[in-house]
Symmetry: C2
Subunit: 474 residues, 2 copies
Amino acid sequence: MTAHRALPSHFRDNLRGFFDAQSIAVIGTFREGWFGGSVVITSLFNAGYKGKIYPIHPTHKEVHGLRVYPTVSDIQGGIDLAILMINAQHVPQVLRECAEKDVKAVIVVADGFAERDQRGVLLQREIVDIAHRSGMRIIGPNTAGIVNTTNGLNMCPYDAGYYKLRKGSVAICAQTGMTNPQAFPYHDLRFGVSKICDFGNKCDVDECDLLEYLEEDPATSVISMYLESIAQGRRFLEVASRVTRKKPVLLLKSGKSQEGARASASHTGSLAMDDRIFEAVCAQAGALRLERFNDLFEIPKVFAYQPLPQGNRMAIITITGGVGVLSIDEGANYGLALSTLSPRTREFLNDIFPNLGEIPVDIGPPAAAIKDFPSRYPEIFNAVMADEHVDCLFNILWVDHIGRLVELYETVYKQIKDTYQKPMVTWLYGPNMAYVDELRQRMEELGFPVFPDPETSIRALGMALRFRNLTPRN
Amino acid sequence: MTAHRALPSHFRDNLRGFFDAQSIAVIGTFREGWFGGSVVITSLFNAGYKGKIYPIHPTHKEVHGLRVYPTVSDIQGGIDLAILMINAQHVPQVLRECAEKDVKAVIVVADGFAERDQRGVLLQREIVDIAHRSGMRIIGPNTAGIVNTTNGLNMCPYDAGYYKLRKGSVAICAQTGMTNPQAFPYHDLRFGVSKICDFGNKCDVDECDLLEYLEEDPATSVISMYLESIAQGRRFLEVASRVTRKKPVLLLKSGKSQEGARASASHTGSLAMDDRIFEAVCAQAGALRLERFNDLFEIPKVFAYQPLPQGNRMAIITITGGVGVLSIDEGANYGLALSTLSPRTREFLNDIFPNLGEIPVDIGPPAAAIKDFPSRYPEIFNAVMADEHVDCLFNILWVDHIGRLVELYETVYKQIKDTYQKPMVTWLYGPNMAYVDELRQRMEELGFPVFPDPETSIRALGMALRFRNLTPRN
């Protein structure tokens, strides 16, 4: 499409201009409210951003104690990144000023471009031309911004009410603002994120650029992405194939149905790819396809905090037989096979309670029948986890109405942390959500992912297995 | 299998002996704890049960102020229902005593029957024989009991920590204890239930008996059921076909995979049906197949509290374009087509904001751009809901970090209650879960179901459409 597509290292450098910006021009309205320049500056301050911040406004003099400049040209020093929160029709002129000032990274928040109408298509083409002529990169338009938790760069134009996000290794990028701080309660998340990016209409920076940047980003170990379209199929195949050798790439794509594809066009001006082609591209590139919106936030947890399974033999320890069976069904979709425990483990478990060594390991009956069950539980758990026939574990626990075994379960998890090089996923249930949530939080603080339902738990293990089976590629 | 299978009305009468029991014998241990007779009596008291309760124990004299009888034979009056919380090997003898006392309904809680081993298979056969000879019906063995919210009959042998369940029209029955009060937080549910039943190994009372009983139960309008197997395929087809003419029957079945089917056998001793046959039976019977465990509790809400759609034209009002597209994809799986609004509505909406009349109706741009958006929102909402091209609505709302529009949205829902004979489902999101939960509770109190993710919201509408399309059958 344009000449600089041939220079991938150049792209990565340019995206560093976004995420590692040392100086930022904030261009837009500064009236108090839930949107705009005032919000961005507050967010940067509260997130601990240490770089320079230059508010730009024709008439204001001071904002949040910062001097306001009439235009970017009035700033003495260099500008790494500008964020534009102005009406679409004013964007080209301000972009030209940014180009003159040699700003190399610009976030265009305004909507009313290719997603709106033919006039918007032309306007979008105009800003791309400005960018290409000056070597500037654009994220957007129609974007809710970006976040880098490493340096406190929280560039969300909408007030989320919280600012510091937990640092972690999950990068979440989307062709929608739905994964940005104003939409998703990241402060309730017990797993940390590295980067967030809404590439909006992706008139310039697209999923391939992001993938190339995240490939080299040491803070990111897993990439979770929502797409309505693939900008350049061939390049995507090439880039994703390379990135997935290092890091899992999880992809949710809408527009599966013809009606969905049509709606994409009016949301971000995207031309959707035939879903069968997309499926084939994912398979060839080693990208793991997500199924549901919440997967974007749930599935990465297993990659960020657990080792990969070294085989497909799954053990299930459950206090409910019914959900055990459902889980086996779901596992079969991903090639996860219920492990037959080794003779030694079976004997050990059957000595504790009749048939306990069968699969799934149903601790329901012994929990009801054995008086000292709490002291036996760690032995049962460790015997299964240590079994050489077991590659991964799905652990189902019941939390009773007074949270009786919360301490015990937490202690067991604490003790086995880093003991077994096997992934474990957990689902909790019980009659009192307060205790279920309490235990979930404690386990996730220890780095053990807990999922909201049995099927998602299994899907996370299944995705981990799929990624493991990719890695021998050359 | 047995002679009394020919007498369906007799079955129904017998199941009334369970759910409408006026006198109950509670047989088992009465030591304080989280399981057993003491728990059942406490639950019955606290749930407001007004019938007679007779604790049975060989040595105890008094429990919770009630006189304890050594055996059921020592009780003067009649006994409608007995619950047995004793070890498996003692069950036949106590059942015989119940038979002599002419008890017609018995819940056998003990495990260690057909799900355990060959000895258990024989034991289970023995208790079935006792029952058949005396015209007694058995729920179980290996069951977590039953609940009837109409009369406070909360017969759960495990302490759930709460007793009164909200009355409503959803019956939840399962071949697992996972849907009983000790496992599921019904007290957090804002939708009421009519009956709960775990039929365990279903040695006698099975899903067909339950369906026939619930068919006639005036308190039940929708039936949500988890099965590992179908006891009698032909009878199921016949009964389900009849029931689904009156009430939706939602079915989740495990054992889809071969491995899952094997595990069923050791959970409840069931022989699983080939999944393709089950699929065909469901289709022929008009039963609606659920996909996930949580569906058991989520999908019934749309049937219990919303009218059926009169057609497949779905409108979506969304503040996020991305999720709008995902929703269209999901809807296509169920034959839900995105509605094109009538010219009048389009004109009205486009006058409020450019392109607002397009589909899905994206209120994101006007919400950001129009100063008096809160006062326009009700007009937008009502215009879409009233449109004669719209049969049902998926409403997506964003709750900001200070819960600003919670009151507005609640007011709009309050105002339209009973105005439109069209079903509406809602998904809420936002950066602060406390406000999201607050609004969800308020909306569900008004009878508008709110779902935990976009896909489940759409699936609920899709299931309602499927049921609607069944109803013209004769």
